[in-house]
């Protein structure tokens, strides 16, 4: 007779991958390209008196995205829509207010796949082919993948008509849409106009931007061998936590890692909204040039993905056990970079 575990309870797993390299070969941009639906971006600039305007504006200008309420998913396989937006430029979308662990979720990836993560019941009533989710070995959840850019995916073909017909039966969802046009002379808002013309409730969303300055802050030196402590410090600073050194050790034993340096001003910038990996890429480019011009000790960038997106890193299936974290931290100094990737565990739950 077996007794349950009573002493060592394992915390839910998560994976951390640390990658180091030289800034010259630009490998750090690869990481950014692997996570497509980004929600929150934050930047820490140590020893900075004035934040250059172009950093603040990279994720503010031309970063509008659209919220469209109550869309039937059959609209997204409309051939006019595919030809006008999915095929051209970079189009990403995901459903909001739906939980990946309980409800049906949808997302469109930049390579033109429409992905659905469905509960067993919805999947059975939908009748489109899919694969059982990796995370539940009892087959409670299925992922349906539709290639919108396939050559055979057009009206008149059996597959197309059937897919469209079946998607009509799904519940309407609220979507976020981010589209980057292929040419500068096309207005990004044309995607909004498309849906507006179809009499949908379209709302323009602007990223939420916050900036903060903290004075006289002990900042740890960035070296490659104290990465975990350094990333923890970034968290402590970003959340304005107690950075240690005070008298009250009863509450917290946290101390800023040694060796550190004290800077007069440290800036914290944060954007929230819906960003594509291209937009993050641009921000990183701006940050790198700023780093080179101003000779800062280092610059850090933290990006957090959406909790309820169908796919996370490398288009692999995402899930939510007790948290749905996907994110990465990039720390750069004038020569090296470090990427700290944080992803949900790939273990399936038994």
């Amino acid at each position: 007779m077996l007794s349950p575990e009573i002493w060592n309870f394992k915390a839910p797993d998560s994976l951390v991958k640390v990658e180091k390299g030289n800034i010259v070969n630009n490998n750090c941009f690869n990481t950014i390209q692997k996570l497509h639906h980004n929600h929150l971006v934050s930047v820490v600039l140590p020893d900075t008196l004035r934040v250059p305007q172009n950093i603040c504006e990279t994720l503010k200008n031309d970063c509008e995205y659209y919220k469209i309420s109550n869309v039937g998913l059959d609209e997204l396989v409309n051939i006019n829509f595919i030809n006008a937006f999915v095929r051209k430029g970079i189009f990403i979308s995901l459903s909001i207010n739906e939980r990946i662990d309980c409800d049906d979720c949808m997302c469109i990836t930049p390579n033109g796949f429409l992905l659905l993560s469905l509960t067993k019941e919805t999947y059975e009533s939908l009748g489109l082919e899919g694969t059982p989710s990796h995370y539940y070995n009892t087959k409670q959840r299925y992922v349906v993948s539709i290639n919108l850019l396939s050559n055979h995916f057009k009206p008149g073909k059996k597959n197309y008509d059937r897919t469209k017909d079946r998607l009509l039966t799904l519940k309407k969802m609220t979507l976020l849409i981010n589209w980057e046009p292929p040419h500068l002379d096309i207005c990004p808002s044309s995607v909004a106009k498309y849906f507006d013309d179809l009499k949908f409730d379209v709302q323009v969303c602007l990223p939420d931007f916050q900036m903060r300055t903290n004075y006289t802050i002990k900042v740890p030196n960035f070296t490659m061998d104290n990465i975990h402590e350094f990333v923890e410090w970034l968290g402590m600073f970003s959340l304005e936590s107690d950075l240690g050194g005070g008298g009250e050790s009863y509450l917290s034993t946290y101390e800023t890692p040694q060796p550190y340096q004290e800077y007069g001003q440290v800036k914290f910038l944060q954007w929230r909204g819906f960003f594509s990996s291209q937009q993050i890429n641009k921000l990183l480019e701006v940050l790198i040039s700023h780093l080179k011009d101003e000779e800062k000790p280092w610059i850090s960038l933290y990006v957090q993905g959406f909790s309820d997106v169908v796919v996370g890193w490398d288009l692999q299936e995402h899930h939510y056990y007790t948290n749905g974290d996907n994110g990465y931290v990039i720390v750069l100094n004038s020569e090296d970079y470090m990427v700290y990737q944080h992803m949900c565990s790939k273990k399936s739950y038994k």
Binding site: M1, L2, S3, P4, E5, I6, W7
Partner: protein
């Protein structure tokens, strides 16, 4: 799952009388204190304690495999049973009753030898031996 413990009284006298239920309660109280509600609940199924030899002061504690770790961790902290100051020593941890009885038998034998060495007459030795072993086996059967 049987754990064996040896309550050693502060006073240097050979026998010690503790009713088994009191001993059980003392253990349970300590577990409640050190491992909280969760510990008390975890060990409850299949938990039994029996103090059964007054001369050699041996007791058997039964617990299920797994939660027995909670009990072994608590034993060193038991200082008082039945208002008598005691300290407990784990002598043996075995997975079956049989294993434990085997151990007890050996242990008793050793005790007998110890006592015997302090005794003078041969008759006394035999008497003691018989008393101890007999006591042991009858208790075992019950």
């Amino acid at each position: 799952m049987v754990i064996e413990i040896n309550p050693q009284q502060q006073r240097k006298d050979n026998s010690l009388t503790i009713p088994s239920p009191t001993f059980y309660q003392a253990l349970l109280k300590k577990i409640q204190e050190l491992h909280g509600d969760f510990g008390a609940a975890a060990i409850r199924e299949g938990f039994a304690a029996k103090y059964f030899n007054e001369r050699t002061r041996i007791a058997i504690v039964r617990a299920r495999h797994g939660p027995h770790k909670l009990i072994t961790s608590v034993l060193p902290f038991v200082k008082e049973v039945d208002k008598k100051k005691v300290s407990l020593v784990t002598l043996y941890t075995g997975a079956t009753m049989r294993q434990c009885f085997k151990f007890i038998l050996n242990h008793q034998q050793k005790k007998i030898n110890e006592i015997c060495s302090t005794l003078q007459s041969e008759e006394e030795k035999v008497a003691i031996k018989e008393a101890l072993l007999k006591f042991n086996s009858t208790q075992t059967l019950s």
